[in-house]
């Protein structure tokens, strides 16, 4: 579905991505982990061509996206819903209008229809009361959820989540995890999730990739990931009290 071929990206004199290649398959929940500054957000931005690689090529749905014209690029981007790390809500619009924006811009739906769809998504994300509020009046976690509602309002094939649960309480975090799993099970949506939360990564991920120093140090299904021989992966696991001895119980099923 999304394939990185020998991608190199230098930013501010630092090689953030150093010749990395990987593939996200259709229908999988692909989790990217790594320390702060490892290049996780940069990786996501390459998928939707908000950044261009210095070297290498990126293929989405069988189509190289490096040299697309505007309309072809829009077609590719319309396959994606993106939750940005900072939620990226438009500050002067209410929650309702933010979520409705893609529908208003790209469909000819009547306002009632739009209102119904927006209310449905807000309800799904436990935001039913927030419709009239403005982003500045919301907590970080609520903004994240509004951003997520906006990301999925057009029913995209692929959803990119940049730290969907950071700043959320544990209960809401699990709710988001469940949502990601449900969307995969019920709608076959492909997800790429960037997270620091290994518990969540292991529960929802069909594969977990760890970035470190511009390299992919591990790229494996959860059960293999926790047994990784790589030192950085091991210390990352230990930092969150996850050991390979006790089998990891997810409480969520991804099949």
């Amino acid at each position: 579905m999304i394939r990185f071929e020998n991608i190199t990206k230098v930013l501010g004199g630092k090689t953030v991505l150093d010749n990395i290649s990987f593939e996200v398959n259709e229908g999988e929940t692909f989790v990217i982990v790594g320390l702060s500054g490892a290049g996780k957000s940069v990786t996501l931005k390459h998928m939707i061509r908000l950044m261009l690689p210095d070297n290498g090529s990126i293929v989405v749905d069988g189509e190289a996206i490096d040299n697309l014209g505007r309309s072809a690029l829009e077609a590719v981007r319309s396959k994606f819903g993106v939750l940005f790390q900072s939620a990226a809500l438009l500050q002067w619009m209410s929650v309702h209008d933010n979520v409705a924006l893609p529908l208003r811009e790209h469909t000819k739906m009547a306002e009632e229809e739009i209102g119904r769809l927006v209310a449905e998504k807000l309800h799904l994300l436990n935001l039913s009361d927030a419709g009239d509020k403005f982003p500045a009046d919301l907590s970080g976690g609520m903004q994240k959820r509004v951003g997520l509602a906006r990301a999925i309002i057009m029913n995209p094939k692929i959803v990119l989540y940049d730290e969907p649960t950071s700043g959320l309480d544990p209960v809401t975090s699990r709710r988001i995890d469940n949502l990601i799993v449900d969307m995969r099970k019920e709608l076959g949506i492909t997800s790429v999730v960037v997270t620091h939360d290994l518990h969540s990564a292991l529960s929802i991920g069909s594969r977990i990739m760890m970035l470190h120093d511009g390299q992919i140090v591990e790229n494996a299904p959860p059960e293999e990931f926790i047994c990784s021989k790589d030192k950085t992966v091991q210390s990352f696991l230990e930092s969150q009290y996850i050991t390979k001895k006790g089998k990891w119980e997810t409480g969520l099923s991804h099949e």
């Binding site: 931005k45 939707i48 908000l50 829009e74 981007r77 319309s78 994606f80 993106v82 940005f84 790390q85 900072s86 990226a88 809500l89 438009l90 500050q91 924006l101 893609p102 208003r104 811009e105 790209h106």
Partner: protein, 262 residues
């Protein structure tokens, strides 16, 4: 002697960068002009009206004061000079012509650049930093249509309107000084003013106002879009938008006057 070669190269790079940025800004302007055909669609109408409204509100108080005093200063300055020849009554035409042709659009432009242009640069800069512009791009919402075009229309419409307002207040201020300080009756002042100020002066002044409106929007939006480095960058973009707008307004104002009067 590596140093001179080094600085020559750096100067060359700066020139290239300047040309690149200018090209970028002009492309943005042209695309936004092209998008003006969408201005009356439902999704752009409200935003454009809001921008017009805020442009007026944000600047009206300052413009009122500045316009009055500009007229008063012009009248006093030229009046004292003319008094030596006993020709005080000519302050009417002196104030009216220089307000309508030069000072009206110029002062309005400076005030709008400082109050509205800086706010545009800050807002768009903040949107860049908080990934809102990226979000728009991913949603295939063209920022030039969504953000620049309504601001362009608002400023290009509001600049001439505010300029006329500035002119009226400036001429009134001049009349006030004439009547109270120079012994020129309001009637004589107005007669003299209307006798010498031509329609051409008015059209040239309004033409300047429209051009300045486009300049301020282009510079402010462009500086906003080029923001990097977080909150510090937003401050820089705001400051630069004001300075660059001032410079362009100054130079273009001179060139337009030359074009029509020399």
């Amino acid at each position: 002697m590596r140093y001179p070669a080094h600085s020559v190269r750096r100067f060359g790079n700066q020139v290239l960068q300047l040309m690149h940025d200018t090209g970028h800004a002009l492309f943005m302007l042209l695309e936004s002009i092209w998008f003006i055909r969408y201005v009356f669609t439902k999704r752009s109408r409200a935003e454009t009206a809001l921008q017009m409204f805020t442009t007026g509100i944000k600047s009206l108080a300052v413009i009122t004061v500045v316009a009055l005093f500009t007229g008063m200063i012009l009248a006093l300055q030229t009046g004292l000079e003319l008094r030596r020849y006993g020709q005080e009554v000519y302050i009417g035409s002196a104030v009216a012509v220089s307000m309508i042709r030069e000072m009206g659009p110029f002062m309005t432009g400076l005030i709008i650049a400082a109050s509205v242009g800086s706010a545009i640069a800050a807002q768009i800069g903040t949107m860049v930093v908080s990934e809102e512009i990226s979000a728009l791009e991913v949603m295939s919402i063209n920022p030039n249509r969504f953000l620049v075009m309504p601001r362009l229309v608002a400023l290009v419409v509001m600049m001439p309107i505010l300029t006329v307002y500035t002119n009226i207040l400036g001429i009134m201020g001049g009349g006030l000084v004439g009547a109270t300080q120079l012994g020129v009756s309001l009637q004589a002042y107005m007669d003299n003013a209307t006798q010498f100020a031509t329609n051409k002066d008015l059209y040239v002044g309004l033409f300047k106002a429209i051009i300045f409106g486009a300049v301020i929007t282009t510079v402010s939006c462009h500086q906003g879009f080029m923001t990097s480095e977080g909150a510090v960058g937003v401050g820089k973009a705001t400051r630069r938008s004001v300075i660059i707008s001032f410079l362009i307004i100054l130079v273009l104002g001179y060139m337009i006057t030359r074009l029509f009067y020399v």
